[in-house]
Symmetry: C2
Subunit: 129 residues, 2 copies
């Protein structure tokens, strides 16, 4: 790993959270986990790669949907245990069809979370059934 | 806990990551962890409260520095295991004196992380020595 990133603190499972932000609009798109390998692949390829804890494997964001994220910058927080990656998002970030995964908001007194995001695509058309 | 938040997925340690974003400028300020109690206190008070894993206790952001965060909105991601909280930040978010904790960037080929953030205050003046 690049010497600049040698002080990164990965957790006991070897992972670090990566916040993904839209480089143009500033919208926070998602958060996912990286291990050293996925961070290296992200840097080498210029496309975000994450580590799936449920599937226990590396994945290229957009590998099924084509909704890849071109990396524009990688920032590190003060404690060096969180990454902030600005990207150019193809299509939409969320597998539910929304541009951002944070498409629901809490509203005091409401009965349920309110959908505030805009649907960009229909998941069943992109991923099949 | 409010019924809207009853499906939130806290990890095995009872925690959920909370991304804090500047409501006005869109800058991502920090990421910290919340348990149910800190999320409830955040909602009740309108000021962010987190759970410190190292000190094993709840803390009000800004309790020493006065740099509190007024909550403007709380969004939940598709998997309901990450929060995105937009705030109005008093002073600066980072204890190192920068507005955002993500004040250093990776630059291919550079010898070290590059400081890209602007220093707002001198930590020793705010926290004492």
């Amino acid at each position: 790993m690049d010497v600049q990133l040698s002080n990164l603190k990965f957790d006991s499972g070897g992972l670090i959270p990566a916040i993904i932000q839209d480089a143009a609009g500033g919208q926070v798109l998602m958060m996912a986990w990286m291990n050293r390998d996925s961070l290296e692949k992200t840097i080498q390829s210029g496309k975000t790669h994450f580590f799936s804890r449920s599937r226990n494997k590396l994945w290229l964001k957009g590998e099924s949907s084509g909704h890849v994220q071109q990396v524009k910058s990688i920032a590190v927080d003060c404690d060096q245990d969180v990454l902030l990656i600005k990207v150019e998002q193809a299509g939409a970030a969320c597998h539910e069809g929304f541009y951002s995964c944070f498409f629901r908001e809490y509203e005091k007194g409401a009965g349920e979370l309110k959908v505030v995001g805009k649907k960009i695509f229909e998941p069943e058309k992109v991923y099949g059934k």
